[in-house]
């Protein structure tokens, strides 16, 4: 059946608000509560006024006593502000068992709908159902924050493995995960019946940008409530007593290098020679200098390099949760030697680090480490380029991954061109799993026999999400895959322009007759399209499943050992 006429009004940012029930009365009420009441509304442009942000990018949520609000490990796209009542943070990693948290697998197609793809796929490229768009607009379908609406914790003392901390009215939580595009670090549940304001990150970003009060409020909150948590989860810090941890937290410095929107600079400098580009990367610590602090990476990536003849050899890359400088500090304390830093640490784009001063490490941390757990003493190294042990990436591979920022990938498509027969079974499989639209190109940067194909890598830091005004591009709460909600995508191309790897295509959509869908001004309506890692498919990524020659895999670049094993198979 035809769905003509193939016209819809051009989608706009706030066509589908975060919460359709939010109204003028609710907005006025929020604006009367500090810190919102202290914001100077004139700093917001008319197109995104403060009341409009509250109206469209926030939602009121009520939680009953013991109801879970956010779960550790979930990818959240929103932060919360406590209006009334209080919430509890379950401290420590895996503080609440996964079964208790009611973890659900992402919704997959059932067997019948999977089979239906055999004959039910569209005959034309990029076919969309107009009916679905219209229904969504009427029913305000949107990406909710976390899908935890009905999970209650019973018998809390017995399910909790560690301690808890209380957050009360007037505080924010969840903003780090929402803004840094990382998983939630703790489970938070309602201590009593409470009312919260959920703010999707697009709105939160504008609030932080235009209202310094909010930014300051959030940063102070972090130092007060989250820093100790972060430290507690770091290797070697676990055995500190609460008092010691507080002291270490007090003396820890926050440092930020590079810019949050690192992708624009990266794109600009891509053609600069690598040896020149490395010099442009902000220096965090330099080889040969005294290690005056232990550096913990809180967000982003850093390059660890070593002088090598006239240039610098990249030894490895660090990301969230990894540390730098520990071996030197431990060596000096243990042997009364004074070995300087063996490597240079530079920011790759944007890096947020915590620096624990050496004297603090010596006073609180090193005395608690058993001799057997100390890193091996530092000896003068004469490593050759491409020295490689089993399970390690060779230097040229590391350089390649770092230079092209592929280290960001959590599911990077790597192809072995010496096994790939160019049969395109992977592309056909991808197309059949996506209504006959292939979502990647068998083409990309090459190092020797390996190619990183142009397929979304479901990045650790998905910068493509930064500018999306509607939150259409978001992380799947459970698996963390970066996916696009086709209904709320307004086709503005921000994500496609932001992706440093060119892995998003803007496509002109059609109706079932293959006719272009047009807006009121007769311009074709476009949508962003990319690999979704087959989140809905029973098999996982169809490409990997379909390759008959073991030529293709998806790699988490944080797991270098598995990758090295694959390369050396």
């Amino acid at each position: 059946m035809s769905e003509a006429p193939a016209t819809i009004s051009r989608p706009q940012r706030w066509d589908v608000p975060f919460e359709s029930a939010m109204g003028a009365v609710a907005v006025a009420r929020i604006l009367s509560i500090p810190p919102f009441s202290q914001i100077d509304a004139s700093r917001f442009p008319a197109s995104t006024s403060l009341p409009d942000i509250l109206l469209n990018d926030t939602g009121l949520r009520s939680f009953k006593k013991n109801q879970v609000i956010v779960r550790e490990g979930d990818y959240g796209n929103s932060a919360f502000f406590i209006i009334t009542g209080s919430v509890r943070v379950a401290l420590g990693k895996d503080a609440i068992p996964a079964e208790v948290l009611g973890r659900r697998q992402p919704e997959k197609k059932d067997f019948l709908s999977t089979l239906r793809q055999l004959w039910g796929n569209a005959r034309y490229p990029e076919v969309r159902s107009l009916r679905r768009y219209k229904e969504a607009k009427a029913g305000a379908e949107h990406e909710k924050g976390d899908d935890t609406t009905a999970i209650f914790l019973h018998d809390i003392p017995s399910v909790l493995k560690g301690g808890t901390a209380v957050l009360t009215a007037g505080m924010f939580f969840g903003e780090i995960a929402a803004l840094s595009r990382t998983p939630r670090t703790a489970t938070i549940f309602a201590e009593e019946d409470c009312e919260l304001l959920e703010i999707r990150w697009q709105g939160l970003r504008e609030l932080r940008l235009r209202a310094p009060e909010i930014k300051q409020f959030i940063d102070t909150n972090y130092r007060k409530y989250s820093l100790e948590n972060h430290l507690r989860e770091t290797k070697y810090f676990k055995d500190l007593s609460p008092a010691e941890l507080k002291e270490v937290a007090n003396q820890t410095r926050f440092e930020t290098y590079g810019s949050f929107d690192w992708h624009s600079n990266y794109k600009k400098n891509r053609d600069v020679a690598p040896e020149e580009r490395i010099k442009e990367e902000p220096l965090i610590a330099e080889e040969g200098q005294y290690a005056n602090g232990l550096v913990l990476i809180r967000a982003g990536f850093a390059r660890m390099s070593q002088k090598y003849n006239q240039g610098e050899r990249t030894a490895s890359y660090l990301s969230r949760g990894q540390m730098f400088g520990f071996d030197e500090i431990a060596h000096n304390w243990n042997t009364k030697d004074s070995a300087p830093l063996q490597y240079t640490l530079r920011a790759l784009g944007y890096v947020d680090v915590l620096v624990v001063p050496t004297s603090v490490v010596e006073q609180y941390i090193l005395p608690k480490i058993p001799q057997a757990s100390f890193p091996p003493p530092i000896v003068a190294q004469n490593k050759q380029i491409n020295d490689r042990r089993d399970g390690e990436l060779s230097t040229d591979v590391v350089e390649f991954l770092v230079d092209n920022r592929f280290i960001n990938g959590r599911a990077t498509m790597v192809m072995d061109l010496d096994r790939c027969t160019r049969c395109d079974d992977c592309i056909r499989a991808c197309a059949s799993a996506h209504d006959n639209n292939p979502r990647f190109v068998r083409h990309g940067h090459q190092i020797g026999r390996y190619m990183i194909a142009n397929a979304c890598m479901h990045c650790l830091d998905p910068v493509c999400m930064i500018g999306c005004p509607t939150g259409a591009i978001h992380r799947n709460a459970l698996g963390g895959q970066v996916v696009i909600n086709d209904t709320t995508c307004i086709g503005c191309s921000t994500c496609a322009n932001s992706c440093p790897y060119n892995n998003i295509q803007m496509v002109e959509i059609r109706n079932e007759l293959g006719e272009h869908i047009l807006d009121q001004e007769n311009r074709p309506v476009t949508k962003a399209a990319k690999c979704d890692l087959c989140v809905e498919q029973m098999t996982g990524p169809a490409c990997v499943n379909a390759c008959p020659h073991d030529a293709l895999t998806r790699v988490d670049m944080q797991d270098t050992q598995t990758f090295a094993k694959w390369l050396q198979r």
Binding site: L417, M538, T539, H549, D550
Partner: protein, 274 residues
């Protein structure tokens, strides 16, 4: 010891072990049949037809990439070793005798053709990918014809420019006599199939020989044309080898279906007449 083996070598050893065990088990079964009164021909014939049927299912599996039916690469491994098993069973079945009768000869030949095309496909799929990578820029097969046209247009532009700027016709004459044909269609297929670079080396050599008849300015254009010749050679190589990798299945699969059909007929006839 085993830990020093790579994943692929380990897999090869395990699969080979499984294949040998399957052959031994089949041989034992065949022997037990031979000692009894039952027909070994029926046993090996059924086993052979069943194996071929399972082998043919691989093609159906490829059409269902989104159904959880094991990875295609696992199927490939099974396909390779079950294929070898089928060859062994075939020789058990035929007793290494030449067939007689037209239908039997046809069936025998089709089986051999399927088996040989399979082995050839396996060898090519292990040799050609790295040759493709090392030879030159990797290109998408579908884009090769348009790239060839583009390259020819580029060469013609160079020749025009050379004539206009140098007023010398050495290069233009060479283009008319030899290069035009070279650029206008896929060339040297056989040499690319066997991995020989002789034709492109001969041609560049011939072009280099022309230098002595050129003015200095024309030599600059000659160098550009030689680059285009090399690029065209890569296009031909990619088209030939990628084409073979893509289209050998167009021989292997129809032959397999003919084999299944003929095998079925053969089985029915054998049952009817015995």
């Amino acid at each position: 010891m085993a830990s020093t083996l790579t994943f692929f070598s380990q897999r090869r050893l395990i699969n080979l072990g499984l294949l040998l065990s399957a052959v031994a088990a089949f041989w034992a079964l065949q022997e037990s049949y031979a000692n009894g009164i039952r027909s070994t021909g029926l046993l090996s014939g059924t086993a052979l037809f069943g194996t071929c049927l399972v082998l043919a299912l691989f093609n159906a599996r490829k059409k269902l990439p989104f159904i959880p039916l094991l990875k295609a690469s696992t199927w490939t491994q099974f396909h390779i070793y079950a294929g070898w098993f089928a060859v062994v069973v075939f020789f058990f079945h035929t007793g290494l005798r030449m067939p007689n009768g037209l239908f039997e000869i046809a069936l025998y030949s089709v089986f051999l053709a399927v088996a040989l095309s399979g082995v050839l496909g396996l060898i090519l799929s292990r040799i050609y990918p790295s040759r493709l990578r090392l030879y030159g820029e990797n290109l998408m097969y579908e884009r090769i014809p348009s790239l060839r046209q583009q390259l020819q247009a580029d060469v013609e532009k160079i020749i025009w420019k050379s004539v206009n700027e140098t007023k010398s016709f050495t290069l233009a004459r060479m283009y008319e006599s030899k290069l035009k044909a070279y650029f206008s269609a896929k060339k040297n297929t056989f040499h690319h199939l066997i991995g020989s670079e002789k034709p492109v080396n001969d041609l560049t050599e011939e072009l280099n020989q022309l230098q002595r008849y050129m003015v200095a300015a024309e030599r600059v254009f000659l160098a550009e044309v030689i680059e285009c010749v090399k690029a065209k050679d890569n296009l031909d190589m990619q088209a030939t080898c990628q084409g073979v990798l893509k289209y050998w299945l167009f021989i292997h699969i129809p032959l397999t279906f003919s084999l299944l059909l003929m095998g079925l007929l053969h089985g029915l006839m054998a049952l009817a007449f015995n």
